[in-house]
Amino acid sequence: MTRFLSLARLWALLVKETIQMRRDRLTFAMMIGIPLVQLMLFGFAINNDPKELPAALVAPTQDRFTRAMVSALELTGYYRFIAPAATAAKAEEMITRGDVVFVVTVPSDFGRRVERGDDPSILIEADATDPAAASGAISTLGTVATEALEREAGLPQGSGPALSVVVHKRYNPEGITQYNIVPGLLGVILQLTMVMMTAMALTRETERGTMENLLSMPATPLEIMLGKVVPYLGVGAVQVVVVLVASKAIFGIPMVGHLSVILIGIFVFVLSLVILGYLISTVARTQMQAMQLTFFFFLPSLMLSGFMFPYRGMPGWAQALGEIFPLTHFLRLIRSVMLKGADVQTVAQSMAALLLFVLLLSLAALMRFRRTLD
């Protein structure tokens, strides 16, 4: 017993380990804080049967039957009409950009057909790039709408005109999950490697003591930052080529949009990532801390960006929180362009958000960078 395990020695080791753990404040805070924050965050934010999905309504004549049906749809809890009087063009733009998940089109003769007893029809276009997001909403659709119409027309249940609901699954009619996952994976892979590698960059110099020497020589903060960041842009470029080729060749993901728009979007995204990593490396004192900070950032961005769970299905506060991650904007952009063929104007908002990240993060990094060893 004492030869392999001495309790006194074990105790000495345990005490030493606990002291070290306590002394590294950042690690300690993270060990306590992370589980708590993430439990609250994800416990409440994640929802696999998303409700209140944004929808647009295209209805030239808004009669009482249309209104009845819309309010019935809203009562299911799945639909939230954020654009109740959209034109067809406007609705098309919104679904391409990802602002709405559904476009409900009620033809102008809808009311007349109900009154006449003809079989009316409505068209529901669903953004099926994420097949899981829309499925619940689609499945409840037919019966709810029919019942609402019968109530409004004062007819007993089951005796009214047969409402035909035409469901049009846009962009991904077969509901292939990879269509949604693979472009998203590009963002996730880039995010993990780019942020982590650059986060190590400066801390490695500090840890090895080469920072003092580097600072004593005439190199400006901008030069040092660019010198650290540019090589990783090259690494990112290689990754992008690999993932894009694989997504086309192995997974058969359609590339509807312009390659140039895709590449510009990726470039701005990667730029924001490497600068974020660089910012982390100006904060962290050791490579270990840099790693921890990277993960602290990585996990919520994975959960709240819409990569793992439908973004539109999260509660409002979680969506607002999701906006602070470059990944959220990148996913919106890449899915719109790759799967829906969006052009530059349509994704301008996401692009602008990514550029804003680049600008703010660069400023923060240059300000955080210490020209001195203080």
């Binding site: 003591g209 004593s216 005439p218 001195t372």
Partner: protein, 307 residues
Amino acid sequence: MSEPAITVTDLTKRFGGKTVVDRVSLSVEKGEIAGFLGPNGSGKTTTIRLMCGLLQPDGGSGRVLGHDIQTERGAIKREVGYMTQRFSFYEDLTIEENLNFVAGLYRMPGRRRVVRETLQDLGLYSRRDQLAGSLSGGWKQRLALAACVMHRPKLLMLDEPTAGVDPKARRDFWDEIHRLAADGLTVLVSTHYMDEAERCHRINYISYGTLVARGTVAEVVRDAGLTTMVISGSRAGEAARRLEGEAGVDQIAPFGTTLHVVGRDGAALRETVARVAEETGTEAAPAETSLEDVFIQLMGDAQDNMS
């Protein structure tokens, strides 16, 4: 006389609530080798970092090579060579790659030629493809020195450059420093080896953040006003015990079979030593005070001030 290479006045630096450098004033003439001495943790490294623009002082001012240490860091960095205490070049780069990197950062014209000449001067040309991390302590130090003087600085600051280096390499290193100084380079070197201090033109002694002595070695020893006696004989050990705490005795240090006894009050010391020598049957003789005796004395004084 032209402006000194370094003049700093009342330089102060605090970390947290601790004053690490406390109103240090210092001046180093052009072309001189200035020794910067003091015990561990006395603020030598911090003072050097303040002077080469690596730290922002909390008080005081100074000029290095005519440039303000607070506002003209860029100019100082271009004209100063700084060799850090710890080897701080890239261990995962080869010797040549390290030198190329440094030459590039200083935008040296004719970079390839300069690097090749530096390698040849160092005697490392045949090993230029070796990783810097695989070099021994002495070679690392030579490489670091070569990299620091490659851009022909006007001032060289060396922070304990010979720590962990064997005596032969240390002597070669100092010969090189003197050669560089003869060419007009000003050198400030921190150390706590006494033999190295004696190779400097002038020394500055810093203790717990304050400059306590300065001048040539002879001046510092003279100004300390110490008296030293040597006791020798078989019962020197017993003599040491008896001298403990006696009037006039400040330091007792055994050197082999002899005993150095040092004190500020010469008359009292001589009297005490003579008495103890008689009691123990040992020989007592006056001796010259060494720089080391002075430093130990200064360190003891500073600690007294602290408490």
